[in-house]
């Protein structure tokens, strides 16, 4: 069963897509939704008929909100077509969110090494952080109030004998009633740990950190798979300093990453971007990100399937986070900061889509660009 909600003559294609982007997270009665541009209709497939009126009202509300917003689109700043690629669908056995195997593990390693090299070239210090992050840290950057649709909170059973004795009896269905929030969430990004490390301090000159971590975002179940995961591996380069340093480093890394993307023969583009602020009243912040060039995304495009997704982002957040975390320079003025984030799973998925699941057969120049040498591994695997 489905709802077809006409927005023709009311919203343009870009606005209708924006409605769908929010609708995804706005009712659990939806099992899939899309925009049918030919008909000018937003289409929502329902879990069952009882959700019809709820979902219709949600679509109407989001559509009205979108109509009232200034219609600002992303601007493409770099573009690269690659018509020679014959795309593949990575086999589930080779690329699975649950388990990565052999050559794919190696691929993750060489991709990460590439990004670490880029970070070290820019004098980054190495860091490792844990997967949980406190609500206090997330409240400082208002993550939960801006992006409630994405947060995974960690719960726990109280250390009380009566409660723990019930846990065994109630099994899965009763866990929710017996548990409480722990005060921690699963980290949605690596960079917040860096800001916590710098929190309340004065930095002496520009600072650059790099860290890799598993990040977690609550995603609609029907969207999970291929490039969209609820747990993913992210390498970030995080930097703070005076405004010129931050802007220049962000832009320099963008150029370097674009060169890597070209060396790897991948098709795609760089465009201005915004974070997915959930609430209408915060949408203006996302629009400001676009017009102020605060965020760019590198988008991989699979021309054959129409699939496209961001594999890296380049952010100059100015003083927005450093002000919240009270990070100052030696002159006591609030510094600026930025970060570059690489979704390693998505880089791997893009390469597997472009060149196939059998990494050994990839073109030599691609393996060279990745510094990918499988000979040692092949010898080990053969024995």
């Amino acid at each position: 069963m489905e709802i077809r909600y006409s927005v023709r003559d009311f919203l343009d294609d870009h606005q209708a897509q924006a409605v769908v982007s929010k609708l995804i997270y706005s009712s659990e009665g939806i099992v899939r939704c899309l925009y049918d541009s030919a008909e000018g209709e937003i289409v929502a497939f329902l879990a069952d008929e009882s959700f019809r009126s709820e979902v219709t009202e949600v679509i109407a509300k989001i559509s009205r909100e979108e109509k009232q917003s200034l219609n600002i689109r992303h601007r493409i700043v770099k573009e690269r077509n690659e018509h020679a690629i014959s795309f593949h669908e990575p086999a589930a056995s080779d690329y699975s969110p649950a388990v990565r195997k052999d050559e794919v593990v190696i691929l993750y390693g060489v991709l990460d090494a590439l990004f670490v090299h880029l970070a070290r070239k820019n004098k980054a210090r190495l860091r490792e952080y844990r997967s949980m992050i406190s609500f206090d840290a997330l409240d400082k950057c208002r993550y939960i109030s801006y992006f409630p649709q994405h947060i995974y909170m960690v719960s726990e059973f109280p250390h009380q004998m009566p409660v723990l004795e019930q846990v065994k009896e109630v099994r899965k269905a009763g866990y929710g009633d017996l548990s409480r929030l722990s005060g921690y969430a699963l980290s949605p990004a690596v960079c917040f740990h860096c800001y916590m490390e710098w929190c309340g301090t004065a930095i002496d000159g520009p600072v650059v950190l790099t860290a890799r971590g598993n990040c977690f975002r609550h995603e609609a179940p029907w969207r999970l798979g291929s490039h969209r995961l609820n747990e993913f591996c992210m390498r970030e380069i995080v930097f703070a300093g005076d405004p010129h340093f931050v802007e220049n480093l962000r832009n320099q890394i963008l150029e370097d990453v674009w060169a890597i993307f070209n060396d790897l023969g991948l098709p795609g583009l760089v465009q201005t971007a915004n974070d997915p602020f959930y609430y209408q009243e915060d949408k203006v912040k996302g629009q400001h990100q676009i017009i102020a060039n605060m965020k760019y995304e590198l988008i991989f495009q699979n021309d054959q399937t129409g699939e496209s997704f961001a594999i890296a982002s380049f952010n100059n957040v100015k003083d927005t986070l450093t002000r919240q975390f009270e990070i100052r320079g030696s002159d006591q003025t609030v510094v600026h900061s930025g970060c570059v984030a690489f979704g390693i799973d998505r880089w791997a998925y893009a390469l597997l889509s472009a060149y196939g699941s059998d990494i050994k057969t990839w073109p030599l120049h691609i393996k060279k660009a990745l510094k990918l040498n499988l000979e040692d591994e092949e010898r080990i695997w053969a024995t």
Binding site: I72, Q289, A292
Partner: protein
Amino acid sequence: MGNITNLDQHQELIQTIKEVMNVPPDYPLDKEIGLDSLNSISAIVRLEEALGINFKNSDMDLRLFSTVENIATLVVENYLDHGR
């Protein structure tokens, strides 16, 4: 404001921009206005309404709105018909 044919009309444009952007009459034309995430979008909307234009998406770049002079240049070169 359909076109700019003389100095008076250019002055009128500058005056309108200053009013919309909430900067004093004697504010230097080349000085940063300092739009931030709280006021940038509303300022652009007010400019569109005051000047009777719609900025193209390709012009939605804050660098083009950084000073009164930049805004005037953007408007004159791309949105007014210069009396033709």
